[in-house]
Subunit: 226 residues, 2 copies
């Protein structure tokens, strides 16, 4: 009876895989969340900070998925394709392509792959709520596994891959969203990007407050000391 209770606990929300045959994903649909926010950044050319130890992305890549087989197992992967072979420069308030990159033979450079930490999991799990890639970290140095290595001042487009896990691995989906393109930077170039990041990223709230304070009065807050 203990055994029974346990197995039923597993069964609720964690169904066993299909006994035979391939899963079917009919009408598979993958939708980018927060698309309006992404477009605000895209409109002025998005930038993402890269650091030695890895920096999260903002906005966060988030997708809602439907049409998977609830009882089959999938992994969600993210990788980053160079959007072009160019090195970009920010001059006079706009981004301009500055010649071909070094050794960027138009083919993919290897950025590594980020495996969503919920992987592997059942279709039911992936579909019950939006899948959030908030823990991806971008870096410009070789690092611990799981971080994405990108070249500063190059443009990238994130690609989402859904892979069926089981006796036969199959690539189920392979989508990307134009809205999420960005140029990797070690420091923000366009101050409008900085303003948007501060406005919408809760972790940058310190600077949002500072801005409000400055609107109301003088420039610098008093240094505090005991």
């Amino acid at each position: 009876s203990c055994m029974l209770r346990l197995l039923s606990a597993v069964a609720s929300g964690l169904q066993a895989g299909r006994e035979k045959g391939d899963p079917t994903e009919r009408g598979l649909q993958v939708t980018l969340e927060d698309a309006e926010l992404w477009r605000k950044f895209q409109h002025i050319t998005n930038e993402m900070i890269v650091t030695k130890n890895g920096r999260r992305m903002f906005p966060v890549l988030k997708v809602s998925v439907s049409g998977l087989d609830p009882n089959s197992m999938y992994s969600f992967l993210l990788d980053f394709m160079p959007a072009d072979g160019c090195r970009w420069k920010f001059v006079n308030g706009e981004w301009v392509a500055a010649g071909r990159a070094e050794a960027c033979s138009e083919g993919r450079s290897h950025t590594g792959v980020y495996i969503h930490p919920d992987s592997p999991n059942f279709g039911a799990h992936w579909m019950k709520a939006a899948v959030t890639f908030n823990r991806v970290k971008l870096t410009n140095q070789v690092n611990e596994e799981g971080q994405i290595l990108v070249k500063s001042l190059h443009k990238y487009e994130p690609h989402l891959h859904i892979v069926s896990v089981g006796s036969r691995q199959r690539l189920v989906s392979n989508v990307s969203f134009q809205e999420t393109q960005f140029i990797a930077v070690t420091a923000y170039q366009n101050e409008e990007i900085t303003a948007l990041k501060i406005k919408y990223n809760p972790f940058a709230k310190a600077f949002l407050d500072a801005k409000h304070r400055n609107i109301g009065g003088q420039g610098l807050p008093e240094p505090k000391e005991a």
Copy 2:
């Protein structure tokens, strides 16, 4: 080639399941980590705080596992068995059983089951590092899914279950550790338990510092104000 790279990324560390037949777990071994620490608490009768919103356990239940099939899929579950039918009381510095509990018919009362968030996953995943149940929360009210409901002033013993997930669910392992027994309380009874919690739980460091400060000098720290 893109496809190839992706699938090989999945394959490294995320092997596909066996094509046919049941997984074999020969010489399966489950070891409690931090056993010495657990025994320090056990020696003076461990207590765990329960709250309406759920309270984490300390020490944290952590096990290292070997002998699973690296390529098969398992889920790790935790539930909490009443260690006896008694309600306990702390009087004169020691715990005494105070008669049979209300409606505690010696059978299991239903505490709910905690599913380790890495579930389901491959044997290789569970074995590559100790499996930590630091996010389990104990509560005394019905709450969001995943929290463990216990009766205050009753004694419990955590039980770990490893379940094979796949075409056939099997209970692979069912172990518990005497060292991890505890009495659920809404406030600590034994001040020696409080002292141990403060000494070893990093989140209680505030009170460790206070203790040190008091040893060196006067009772109360100055109130800080700008």
